[in-house]
């Protein structure tokens, strides 16, 4: 039995959460529903679906201060359009998925999803200035603020970012914005040698280029480096990068001015409709080994070359082989997975230990009733 709720005010949301929790329901929190397959499935006989669709307002866009306050259910696409009208952006560009409105900001923050802009601007956690949440006892609490510099109180914004709705419901976030670059240009270079791709990535990562994005891809035995410059002199800077790629022996080096499609493709590579997506975090200098492992497993990869973060699309049957071939110490998380494979894998692969124990204590304090997205997260939190 599933009940659906779509509160339209913070108070309603808090009351709904408290009532459901009191009645012993598990509350499945969802925004646009584009990433519901991530994490473990919620297993509970009595489930309430709590949608954030009724909380979708852009509450503030403080243009002069480069900040915005947005309700969780606001669609990312609509938010970015609103900001772009004033020449600004939220520097968070994960793929937004399909659906009526696509991903919501609440969902992107709750899953700490990101895209190529992470290279320059950091992840979701680095852009959240403040947060308002509802806890399962109905408490509505706020942390952080609306200014870009603030150290008063604990940073619950970071705690809730990437918590997969297991601590409570994100009602709204205040975020830092950045100027939308008017001119961008991307330098591309390719190679069939994973080590050559890795070496080029390292050279660019260590150079003072201030790239907006520095990505890598691997498709069908061929790798590529994609470096995007943005700003008043974007083309000249990307031209300089292209020279560096040539000097490093990369092939098919080119400079692309109309570069939106190139980056749309990178972002799209972070999702799969029919195969698995494995997110890998490895040390940046191990990129060559990661690419080799992906090549051997017939996977395709997109990722942040300087950060060691990659997304691999792969046949679910080949996941174990891929993971075995990765450099030791690499961290993997399973994101997308075809329906028929759901439940086959532990998506998180986080072992028992003091860190997981502490996470359970955090969960116990914020959601003592265990009502919010139970079982979805690491260690079945």
């Amino acid at each position: 039995m599933t009940v659906e709720l779509a509160p339209t005010t913070f108070e309603e949301a808090g009351a709904a959460l408290a009532a459901a929790s009191d009645e012993g329901y598990a509350v499945r929190i969802r925004g646009g529903g584009t990433k519901l397959g991530w994490g473990n499935a919620v297993v509970a006989d009595h489930q309430v679906q709590l949608r954030t669709t009724g909380l979708s307002q852009i509450l503030e866009h403080n243009v002069g201060d480069l900040t915005a306050v947005v309700e969780a259910g606001a669609s990312m696409d609509r938010l970015q359009r609103t900001l772009a009208a004033e020449g600004q952006m939220l520097a968070l560009d994960p793929p937004l998925g399909v659906g009526i409105a696509g991903a919501t900001i609440g969902g992107v923050i709750a899953t700490a999803d990101s895209g190529p802009l992470r290279h320059r601007y950091g992840g979701a956690r680095d852009l959240v200035l403040g947060i308002t949440v509802a806890l399962s006892d109905g408490t509505i609490a706020r942390a952080g603020g609306k200014v870009i510099k603030n150290v008063a109180g604990y940073d619950l914004g970071k705690l809730f970012t990437g918590s997969f709705g297991t601590l409570g419901l994100i009602l709204s976030v205040s975020v830092r914005l950045h100027p939308l670059p008017t001119v961008t240009a991307t330098a591309l270079g390719a190679s069939s040698d994973p080590e050559a791709v890795s070496a080029a990535a390292q050279a660019l990562a260590g150079a003072p280029l201030e790239l907006d994005s520095l990505d890598v891809s691997w498709r069908g035995e061929f790798g590529a480096i994609l470096a995007r410059a943005a700003g008043a002199e974007a083309e000249r800077r990307a031209g300089r990068v292209a020279e560096m790629l040539r000097a490093r022996g990369l092939e098919h080096v080119e400079l692309v001015q109309d570069d939106q499609p190139v980056w749309a493709r990178q972002r799209a590579g972070q999702r799969s409709s029919h195969q698995a997506i494995v997110k890998i975090a490895a040390r940046p200098h191990e990129l060559g080994s990661v690419l080799s492992a992906v090549n051997r497993s017939d996977g395709t990869l997109v990722g942040r070359a300087a950060l060691g973060i990659s997304f691999v699309e792969i046949d679910p049957q080949a996941i174990a082989e891929l993971c075995d071939a990765l450099p030791s110490g690499a961290i993997t998380v399973l994101l997308d997975l075809p329906r028929q494979y759901q439940g086959w894998f532990d998506p998180w692969s986080v072992g028992e230990g003091p860190a997981l124990e502490l996470m359970r204590r955090v969960k116990g304090r914020f959601d003592p009733a265990g009502a919010c997205n139970p079982g979805v997260f690491v260690g079945r939190i």
């Binding site: 009645e23 008063a152 109180g153 973060i309 961290i331 860190a355 502490l358």
Partner: protein, 481 residues
């Protein structure tokens, strides 16, 4: 007392007798941090040499039920490292090893006692560590992590929290936890940075470092008043320029600092704006020309451009000397650390002026203009009756003005003991209670840096067990109402 004696013996066993200070004279150094008007003598100050010793010390305190405070270089400005009277002070000054420099991964691993500047030096010349508090020559990275320190370059580069990618922390029960920014699970790393020593103590820190910018260009523009300078900052930011630093000084702070440094700042100016651009050379050159135009259009009476590294250093010296130079204006001052949305700068500065004349005190303003972080210096003379109290009251009203303008009570100094009374002006009881939940998960007995950050002491209750479904419910025989 005998309990203290037992604990001290145990601490001596862990760190060696010479590294456990108990004599009042030896403890005098440790009675306060950078905020001298709060003083407290701990039972003992202990100086462990390794992470393992820190863990053993914390464990011993836990077993004795003794509270403790971790201290780095003691440069903090909120009393965050103020000892507790019945507690132990854990001084991390001996943990100052740079564990590894891994530039291929743009990172460095250090112990908490390493100074902020030593990190940039260790990765120079190709890289640097951006967050640079004014005290960077001496302040420790462990303290930076505890306070989420900022500095002059935050507007472009961000804060400590944006650079910490890994931590080894010791919780108050003595357990050791490794936190990695890329590991799945709650972002406990993000929650720990800036927690002011109340969640535990970091014993090993991994930091991201970035390539040293190719070009740096610096100018100082002089304006009639802070309002006009504020307008210039708005115009700069609106144009899409992201300066490495934008610092503003008002008439009073220019006067004090110029006397100290003789850098050539104009004494007839109502405000000086120091703007620095850094980055790739093409970008920097083009943007710098735009910047100069914007300053002139915004009414700058004079724009001075640093033509060499030494000229640049001189321009910065005046800004950095501002706090110390204030001694030329008044014997003492309160420094505040409020933040406001930058667009409300003119309004809040006018309010500060009004309050200052009402209280018959001088307030100098030196601040990080890009991110709206004000450092009003409320000048007073302790020898004049009632003046310190009046100054404190005025400082409180300035903070309130910041909160009322949708800002914050602290941008980089932390809450500590100094600003905890202002926490309720910014956060509701429910907000504070939510903070407390985090504290209880990390430190249920409240032994780590008690009495800081939160306005009133609180105890952690037991966690009620998670809801379990009744077997009848599971069988569908009964439901709850």
């Amino acid at each position: 007392m005998s309990r203290d004696v037992d604990l001290i013996r145990r601490l001596q066993g862990i760190c060696g007798k010479e590294h456990v200070l108990t004599h009042a004279h030896a403890l005098a150094t440790y009675r306060s941090d950078g905020l001298k008007h709060y003083q407290q003598t701990p039972v003992a100050a202990v100086l462990p040499d390794t992470g393992e010793q820190v863990q053993a010390v914390v464990r011993a305190c836990y077993e004795a039920g003794t509270p403790w405070v971790a201290r780095g270089a003691g440069t903090g400005l909120s009393g965050g490292a103020l000892p507790v009277a019945d507690g132990v002070l854990i001084v991390l000054a001996r943990l100052r090893r740079i564990v590894s420099i891994e530039l291929a991964d743009s990172r460095v691993v250090v112990e908490p006692g390493v100074s902020n500047l030593a990190i940039s030096r260790a990765v120079a010349p190709t890289h640097f560590y951006p967050p640079d508090p004014s005290s960077q020559i001496v302040c420790s990275i462990g303290g930076n992590v505890a306070e989420n320190s900022g500095g002059a370059h935050c507007f472009k580069y961000g804060f400590t929290t944006n650079y910490v990618t890994g931590l080894e922390i010791v919780l108050s029960d003595g357990s050791v936890i490794e936190l990695d920014r890329d590991a799945p699970g709650y972002d406990l790393l993000g929650a720990f940075v800036g927690s002011e020593g109340t969640l535990g103590v970091a014993t090993r820190i991994t930091l991201r470092v970035v390539p040293t910018p190719e070009t740096v260009r610096t100018l100082v523009a002089f304006f009639e008043d802070t309002g006009a300078a504020g307008e210039a900052v708005t115009a700069i930011v609106d144009s899409g320029i992201v300066p490495g630093a934008v610092e503003m000084m008002d008439r009073l702070s220019i006067k004090a600092a110029e006397q100290a440094t003789g850098a050539g700042y104009r004494l007839d100016a109502g405000a000086a704006l120091l703007v620095e651009l850094d980055g790739p050379r093409e970008e920097c050159t083009t943007r710098f020309e735009q910047l100069m135009e914007i300053c002139v259009e915004a009414g700058a009476a004079d724009v001075r451009v640093a033509l060499s590294a030494s000229e640049r250093a001189l321009l910065w010296q005046t800004r950095k000397a501002a706090f110390a130079a204030m001694g030329r204006i008044a014997p003492a001052y309160y420094v505040q650390d409020g933040v406001i949305p930058r667009t409300r700068l003119a309004e809040v500065l006018r309010q500060i002026d009004r309050l200052a004349s009402e209280y018959e005190l001088q307030v100098a303003n030196v601040f990080h203009a890009g991110d709206g972080n004000l450092h009003p210096l409320v000048c007073y003379d302790a020898a004049r009756e009632g003046e310190p109290a009046r100054a404190e009251e005025l400082a409180g009203l300035i903070i309130k003005a910041c909160v009322d303008a949708d800002g914050s009570i602290t941008g980089e100094h932390g809450v500590g003991v100094d600003k905890k009374a202002y926490m309720p002006s910014m956060f509701s009881e429910a907000d504070l209670e939510a903070f407390h939940r985090l504290r209880c998960a990390f430190d249920p007995r409240g032994l780590a840096n008690p009495g800081k950050l939160m306005p009133t002491p609180r105890l952690c209750g037991e966690v009620p067990g998670p809801y379990r479904q009744h077997p009848l419910e599971r069988a569908g025989v009964a439901t709850r109402f």
